[in-house]
Each structure stands twice: as C-alpha cells, then as structure tokens.
Subunit: 428 residues, 2 copies
Amino acid sequence: MLSVDFSFAERFVSGEQIKSIYDEVFQAHKKIHEDKVFEPIGWLDLPKKYDKKVVDEIIIEAQNIRKNCDVFIVIGIGGSYLGARAAIEFLHSNNYNLLENTPKIFFVGNSISSDELYEIMQICKNKSVCINVISKSGTTTEPAIAFRFFRDFLESVYGKSGAKERIYCTTDSGSNLKKLADEMGYKTFIIPQNIGGRYSVLSPVGLFPMAVTGIDVKKVLGGALNALTDYSIYGENLNDCYKYAAIRNLFYRQGKVTEIMVGYHPKMHYFTEWWKQLFGESEGKNGRGIFPASAIFSTDLHSLGQYIQQGLRNLFETVINVKKTNNDLIISESQNNADGLNYLSGKSVNFVNQKALEATLLAHTNGGVPNIVLNLDSFSEENFGYLVYFFEKACAVSACLLGVNPFNQPGVENYKKEMFKLLGKPNF
Amino acid sequence: MLSVDFSFAERFVSGEQIKSIYDEVFQAHKKIHEDKVFEPIGWLDLPKKYDKKVVDEIIIEAQNIRKNCDVFIVIGIGGSYLGARAAIEFLHSNNYNLLENTPKIFFVGNSISSDELYEIMQICKNKSVCINVISKSGTTTEPAIAFRFFRDFLESVYGKSGAKERIYCTTDSGSNLKKLADEMGYKTFIIPQNIGGRYSVLSPVGLFPMAVTGIDVKKVLGGALNALTDYSIYGENLNDCYKYAAIRNLFYRQGKVTEIMVGYHPKMHYFTEWWKQLFGESEGKNGRGIFPASAIFSTDLHSLGQYIQQGLRNLFETVINVKKTNNDLIISESQNNADGLNYLSGKSVNFVNQKALEATLLAHTNGGVPNIVLNLDSFSEENFGYLVYFFEKACAVSACLLGVNPFNQPGVENYKKEMFKLLGKPNF
C-alpha cells in the first residue's frame, strides 16, 4: 500500500548513524507494546479491536442522514474535527460542498469566530439540518458555544422533539454531554476511554462524519489494520514506520528542527493539518520537539519554495506522493503556442504533477534539505487508513525517541486557564 | 488605523538592544528610499502614483462581470493570486462562494492538480463564466496549463468570438500573453514593470479580482496611502513598521528563527498565506531568513498550541487582532447548563474571542514566546490596504537588516529547471 523512499534522506544520514539509534527505537517499541509506559494507548489495537456493532450502527445512522439531511454540521475542535475533515477532503475533495454532494458538511465550533457561526447559520436556513457534536467532556469552550447556537437553531425550527432526532453526540461515557444526551434523548456514540483526541480519527469521532459523506469506513479500518500488522514487529531491519521515526529524530539532532509535510494536491491540505496536531501536541514539550509545518506543492513552491531552496538550513521535508488522481486530463495542442506549452501537448496534467514532484525532490535535496517520500498509488479509503496508522505509530515512537510523553498535552491548558480568569469563570 | 502593541515583545528585547539597531534600520531606509539599491521598487509609491484611469477601467469592467457572470475564474500562482484571495476572504468571508454571492470566484492554475481543474470545470457547466488569467510572462507552467483548459472550455461553449469577450489578461506589457491578447482581442490590464509578483496586490493583479467581488478598491488604495505616509519618515523614534522590522530581526539574532503569523478568524487564513510568500521569498536566501509559519486561533491552539507553549524555544508570534466582527452573536442562557457555559450567557461571541486572544498573549509570553500585536478596529477596506503596505515596507526593511535582496527569488527557478529537464522542454 505504502512504500517509503528514504533515498533522498540517506544523503544526509549514514547507515551507521541509523544503526546507532536502533536500540533506542527498540526501547521505544517496548515502551509502547509491552511496558505500556504511557497512556492512553487504545489507538494501538483499535483497527483490530474496534466494536463492530458500533461501526454498523454508525453506518446505518449515516445512511439515514444521507437520505434526510441537506446539511450536516460537525461541531468539534482539534482532534474532534481534523481527522474527519482530512478524510473527507482526501477521499472526496476540498471542493466537496460545491460539487452538489448531499449532505453538505460544515465544521464549526473550532474557533470563536462569530462571523463563522453567523454565516453557517445563514447557510442552514430553510435546509434540513442535522448536527454531530463531538467533545469528550462536553464543556470545551469552543464547541460548547457552537452547540448552544445550533441547538437553539434546531429547536427554533423543529421544536424540542424534532430537534432531538437531529442531534448526534460523540462523547466520553461519563461526560456532561452524555448525561445531557440521555436526558434529552439525543443519539450518542461513545469514544473509547483509552483513546486521546489526536489519536481518535479511527474511532466514532472520525468515522461517523466520514460515513455521512459516503466513505466506506470499514475499508478505512481495513487499511489501518494492514498498517498495524506491518508495523507491529521489531526485527533486525527497521520497518518503514520506525525508520521514518528514527531518521527524523536523527535530523533533529543535526539541528533540522522544522519538518514540512508536503502534498501535491489541494485536497491534501487538511491531512497535513491533522498531521500537524498529531506531531505538534505529541512532541512539542519539555523545551523540545520538531516544529510541524506544511505545504501544498506546486502551489507553495511559489511561496515557501524560495525559503526551502536557499533559506536557513534547519528544515527537512516529508512528501506524500499519491500517484493516481481521480480525474486526469490531457493537455491540448495550441495553434499559436504563445505559452510555449506545446511540448506538453498530449501529456496528462497528472504526469506533469509527478514530474514536478520528482524535480522538486532533486532541487531541494541539492539545496541541502533532506526529503522522505511516502508513495501511495491512489486516494483510496484503504490508503487513508494505512497512512493514518503509519503516522500515529511513527509519532508515538518519535516522541519516545525524543524523551517526551507522546500522549499528554499539558501546555494546552495554559491559555484556557488565563482565559477562564479573564472571563470570570467560577473557580478560576 | 493600525496600532502596534510591542509590550509583549519588549519583555524579550531591551530598549538598549532596539537602539543598537537604529543605525542599521536607517541604512535600510536609505537603501530603499534614496539609493534604490534593489529593484523592482515600484510598490513603494504605488498608493500615491497608481494610474487612476486604469483603476476606473477596472471598476467598470468589474461591474460588467458582476452583472453578467455567475462564475469568475482567476488563473494565477504565487503573487498572482494570494493577494486577491487574501483580500476577498478578509473583506467578505472564507465562505464567500457559499453565501449566494454572485459571481462565485475560483482560483485555479496555482497547482498542477488535475482533480482541481476537473472539479472547477464541472462547477462551471451551464454557468456564465468569465476568466482572468494573471501571469507576468504568460508562460509560467501552472497558470498556462489552466488557461489552456479554461480557454478551450469557453470556446467550446461560446465560440471563439464569444469567448474573447469573457477573457481578461493581467500581464506585463511586452509578454507573450499580451501579444496573444492583442491578437485574439482579449481585454488586458498591464502590470507596471517595476512591481514584483509578491508586491503586486495593489496593482491590477489584486485589484481587478477584488473589484469583481464588490470590494471598493479605491478605499483599499486609500488605506495603503495612509500607511505610506505614516511609514515614509525616519525619525528619532522608529515608526511602528520599522520597529516591527527591527524587533523581529533582533529575535532572529537571538535564535528565534520561526515567526508564526496569527489571526483569530478563519477568514484571515489567506492573509497569512499572502504574508508567508511575501516574507519567505524576500528573506529566505543566502542560508538565512526567518521561517514564516501561520496559524488561526483558537482553532490551532488545539493543534500547534502545545508546541508553542512548551516546545523548542525558537519561535515568536505576530498577532493580528481585528477587534470588531461583522456579525456578532449573543450567547444564550441554558436551563440545565450541562456545558457549564452559563457564566458567559449574555456575553457576545466576539467578546469571548477577544478574551481568548488576551489570554493567549499572556500564556505564550509566559511560556517564552514573544508576541507582537497589530491592532485593527475592523475588517475594512482601508485597514486591509493599510496592513498590506505595513507588511510590504516592513519586509523590505527586514530583508535589508538581514543583508539579503528583498526583491529577488533566485531559488524559485531550481525546481523549474529540474522539471523542464524531466519534461523534455526544448533548450533544457
């Protein structure tokens, strides 16, 4: 499914250097698989041990929504929306809402922007609307604010009894939101307790919105299961997932402290956003961590390209190369050839995109920026699931190599505490 | 219009340190204003010296398009689309195309994604379509490919004679595209020769698409003119623009090599993208430069927030605080208060957003990340123009302080050369 090309990275780290870190990788592997040093670790076996009844239920409810709703509102922040949004754009399109798909899907409650809330409520007018509020606690400020507005909106249109048929809660079993849902009669999906937010895309958190857009979530889980199998074994040769973790850690020790995750299609933008949370929250602590940045090429070759080619040499890139597009197009012949493009007549656009990718690998590595290339054949559900698990596992191992806890995020509380004080929240 | 708060930065640089760089700032000011060491410098006086007849023509043509077109396609990459897109989202919305505005606006030719081209062409079916191809040369690969497809599309629907009434070219006076336009009878807007791509937003490159969405471009230029006036003088106290350049350069010398441009509204995302090109291409050369990153808060406080709070201490942030939103909303009271949010009942969403901003300034500076805050009262045309000019000027001065040419981008050619070789382009 996934093949990783390390050749553009191995110009910057020797085989000896990679070998020198083998034992640390093994210790990380043991910490995760045997010693269970860090919690929550439920994501590790999730593709094998997920509750099949819950997934079937997700699929049935999603089909109902697809039949009955024009607009599906997903309320959540951070890990509660990034995975689903990444999947929907990767597997459909960044133009999903404009391509006359039903239901249209909007992500709110991931900012405190009144304009955003107002506009999405405008769009919902005279439409059949369902909402999925995703919050482990139900008390996170951003989604809680959005949920108040959209619940009021639904109740004003459908009444309390009509609204309750249109509200789906994805939450922890003992949460305030779960209690509210039980009291009001909202349908609920429970997030397994041993799964953290940024590792939750393969739980109901990500699967339900995916299913609402018609994604075959069993195929996504199947892809992840293949990755689980491929990356569970520690052998004499590092598997590709562990090797990625090892090499990026060696780069860090060389002073390459920023990693740019690169895609070659606009529909991959939110995958890179999901990745940024996964690695940023897992690694960025104790004064350490690789800074996660992202780019879409060739778009950003005309923006960040100059810096990457010739700026400060503290960067490396990880490139996701999806080789086949859904709709390829052939470049036509032009009579006057004013654009000088006739040498490409008869070639496909995706062929040119592939050559841009190959060329950029050469240019950037020649400029002193190592590249790791993840090759996938197509934008399939299996490949999405596989890629997700690849990065989840690589992230856990990477954080262990860095000497930090991959699964906590103590620093996220700091702005919240200051905000609660300023807002006069009781007990702050 | 703009007031800059340096207090969260001055905990990290002393008044003495700022003074120590005064002379370098003065040298930079002289290089730009008097010695004209670097070219092209046409952006410097543009808000004062722009061709008023051209702007009037832009407004008239834009009104025609607003009357007659459902869809307006902007073909361009890098500086040929980022400024216009930044303006349209900043002044309207990131949801512009969904809010039943006419014409809808799509940006293509900024990638080599066949799916993207295919999808936008699908959306154009049975719509009245006009296109604006923006390319200094007319031979840049990405927009040239897109233009072939959209020209063929228009000609297949309207015939050659109908199509020519719907094609607008923004290009250099002597370019291949200009020649083609003259031959075919396309309407043309000329890009003044002494203005580079990333400094072109206040030229027809940015103004025409803005005007098509109903933005008052004269107000944008008026705002820029105010900034030009405010930031042209070198006095005993640095003006805010020069002080921003000075302080960010001092941070760089302290090892703070990544700057995160932060907005608090989803509609500011493309402004940060425009800024990333401006600074990345201007500074990232000769093995130097501040890496330009971006974030939208509070969204990304649940993604990059952990890293910023507690990761590697090589960051600083520049925060754009737009205080007033277009549509503020009041948070309602909830009977059961399951979300614990009733302490906010009666408060507005934007009030909470402001407190999140203030809280984050405290949390991040306490965590060792300096913050510079640019305060604006609202999302107005004047403020957009002012902000654009603030950053253009700051960027030129910053690059001079860094000892690099602010206006060239030699590294952007590297991937192109490799690509042309791989594609078998004649003479490569």
